[in-house]
């Protein structure tokens, strides 16, 4: 009897802690929305107070500052780099698993080791390289850089998944005389397609949120990614916090929507992504 009371009490305390943690997790999101709906003066008067009327026009102004364009750019850069790294890493992983050669293990080890090199180290020479190639301000420069930086993790993950494919599945195909290209395409890819989705999510999350390379490589107003545009929007409108918050709110929406409707897939991606950082 006593034990059950204390357990129930314990349960309530636990729930309370989770509620508090949830509030902490959501507070910045709420703060952005709360601030985005008011005027500058209203915000300066009291940042937390009740808004003096709802002002949607901040969102309109934010959109006028190119945010729509930046979302599109981010989508291009993210989509392009995820596609590229998938196309490069899957055949490579297949080769490491099914076509080993002298030194292939060492090569794989090297590839995976590159995972730990921080982007800031690559930034200056990559920038110099893209400069020399005349690709600064072009999406292909960023797509290539992102794909390169995502590659070590991608190949590492695909090796693990392709390894897990039962050996027997290849046998029949070999007997039929299928080429490796054919086996890769019609046996391996379908089998690892869930893993490909997961990989794509991990990589897309990283690319979508990347700031450092985007800030440096995409200088033009209309070629910026969402993160870079937003960071600079903040610098440009230090006086108009509600406008900046409207921009921030808009930029949070695409991923939040994806998360809302694809939570399961997302969760799997996060788990795999945990290995990455």
């Amino acid at each position: 009897m006593k034990a059950s009371v204390s357990r129930r009490l314990g349960g309530i305390v636990q729930q309370a802690i989770l509620v508090l943690a949830s509030l902490a997790a959501l507070f910045p999101l709420w703060f952005m929305l709360w601030t985005a709906l008011r005027t500058r003066d209203d915000y300066f008067r009291s940042p937390l107070g009740w808004p003096q009327g709802i002002h949607w026009e901040n969102f309109v102004t934010a959109f006028e500052q190119n945010i729509g364009r930046w979302v599109l750019n981010s989508a291009i850069v993210t989509g392009g780099s995820v596609l590229l790294v998938t196309l490069v890493s899957v055949p490579a992983a297949y080769a490491f698993v099914r076509l080993p050669f002298r030194g292939s293990e060492l090569l794989l080890r090297l590839f995976v080791f590159l995972m730990v090199i921080p982007p800031i180290v690559m930034l200056l020479p990559l920038f110099a390289l893209m400069t020399a190639l005349g690709r600064v301000n072009h999406f292909d420069a960023v797509i290539l850089a992102y794909a390169g930086l995502m590659f070590p993790f991608s190949v590492f993950m695909m090796v693990r998944y392709i390894e897990a494919i039962p050996h027997e599945l290849y046998e029949a195909a070999f007997v039929e005389g299928a080429t490796h290209l054919r086996i890769l395409w019609s046996i391996v890819v379908p089998l690892v397609s869930p893993a490909l989705v997961t990989l794509a999510i991990v990589n897309a999350l990283w690319a979508w949120n990347e700031l450092l390379i985007a800030v440096v490589m995409l200088q033009r107003e209309e070629s910026r990614t969402l993160q870079a545009g937003l960071a600079l929007l903040k610098g440009k409108n230090t006086m108009d916090i509600p406008l900046v918050m409207a921009g921030a709110t808009i930029s949070a929406v695409p991923l939040l929507l994806l998360y809302l409707f694809g939570q399961r897939v997302f969760m799997r991606g996060l788990l795999a992504g945990a290995v990455k950082e």
């Binding site: 314990g10 349960g11 729930q15 802690i17 943690a21 997790a25 910045p28 703060f31 952005m32 940042p47 937390l48 490069v88 055949p91 297949y94 698993v97 099914r98 076509l99 080993p100 292939s104 090569l107 080890r109 995976v112 080791f113 590159l114 995972m115 730990v116 090199i117 921080p118 800031i120 180290v121 690559m122 930034l123 200056l124 020479p125 110099a128 390169g148 930086l149 590659f151 090796v159 390894e163 050996h167 290849y170 949120n209 450092l212 800030v215 440096v216 916090i241 918050m245 921030a248 949070a252 991923l255 939040l256 998360y259 939570q263 969760m267 799997r268 996060l270 788990l271 795999a272 945990a274």
Partner: protein
């Protein structure tokens, strides 16, 4: 699944060991005659990745080191040997930024504690867990840029956080969160915890679900309270995944803090929140000392490699001590 595997942590960083059995099996089953053809396939399949790696990693590292040995102005270049390194190592600002990175490491145990506590709570409150889990993961869905912008406003001296503290009678906790150089770095650390702890929750939750139930129940039969049982039974079983999370967090804080400080403080006030990656960025692009930045970046590269090697060694030791 994946998280379960990653429970054995650092093994992930040397996957070649795992590759061996499979590849050997493959090799033996293959008719000898088509080895030449296989060679061409391997070449074709690997060529794009080798090009990519050469372009994005190998050449840049070479050119970075080269850049660090010169001083340039427009098209003029002057070879200076290791002088740029001497300047960087002697620069109080570089030292301060490295020190700040080290101070930020205090966030790692906090992240582990927070993530572990919340993961255990989610584990205990199984009924409401899906809802809470859904909410608690939100910080990870919002980009660092977005949340950094929000936090930089919330944490001003007359900002939302202090106003809220006043409102609930905790006014004595008011701080100039990002303006006081003694606190600003810790505030940044707090925001890092706010976001990066999510990763720990994800990892730990997944691991918890795969643990066998019997040891825990047995411990509770012996009269241990639930929390005690978790402490004595559950947590020791999670050493591997905790170690893995600790290492990834250390790497995050050592070299991936740019987005946080760039958006929230830009290194200020004074230089109180300058970190190594921001130091490199500012030298390269704000005060146009590209060669100095290259020297600093090379040093960071060396440090990162050293940390990883050390962590790999540590991980091997941890795994050895872990009960099977």
């Amino acid at each position: 699944m994946v998280a379960n595997d990653s429970g054995s942590s650092v093994a992930l960083r040397s996957p070649a060991g795992a590759t061996r059995p499979t590849s050997r099996a493959t090799r033996s089953s293959r008719p000898g005659g088509i080895v030449g053809g296989n060679g061409w396939y391997a070449f074709g399949f690997l060529l794009p990745s080798v090009i990519l790696i050469a372009l994005i990693f190998i050449y840049p590292v070479y050119s970075l080191v080269r850049m660090s040995l010169f001083q340039s102005l427009g098209s003029l270049s002057l070879y200076v040997g290791f002088d740029n390194y001497a300047v960087v190592l002697d620069d109080p600002l570089f030292r301060a930024s490295v020190r700040n990175n080290l101070v930020l490491m205090v966030a790692v145990p906090v992240m582990i504690a927070v993530a572990l506590a919340l993961a255990l709570l989610l584990f205990e409150q199984r009924k409401s867990a899906p809802l809470f889990r859904f909410i608690l993961f939100v910080p990870y869905i919002i980009s660092i840029t977005v949340s950094g912008i929000a936090f930089s406003q919330m944490l001003t001296k007359n900002g939302a956080l202090n106003q809220m503290l006043e409102a609930i009678g905790l006014g004595f906790l008011r701080q100039d969160w990002l303006g006081d150089p003694g606190i600003a770095l810790l505030s940044v650390g707090g925001v890092i915890v706010w976001r990066e702890a999510v990763l720990g929750i994800v990892l730990f939750s997944a691991r918890l679900l795969t643990l066998p139930a019997e040891p825990l129940e047995a411990a509770m039969m012996d009269g241990a309270s639930r929390w005690r049982a978790h402490r004595d039974v559950t947590i020791p079983q999670m050493h591997g995944i905790i170690g893995f999370y600790a290492i990834t967090s250390i790497i995050t804080i050592a070299v991936w803090t740019f987005s946080y400080v760039f958006v929230m403080t830009n290194g200020g006030p004074g230089n109180a929140t300058m970190t190594a990656d921001l130091y490199i960025y500012q030298n390269a692009f704000t005060v146009s000392q590209m060669n100095l930045a290259a020297a600093a970046a090379t040093l960071v590269l060396l440090a990162a490699v050293a940390v990883v090697l050390a962590a790999g060694l540590l991980g091997r030791l941890v795994r050895r001590g872990e009960p099977a």
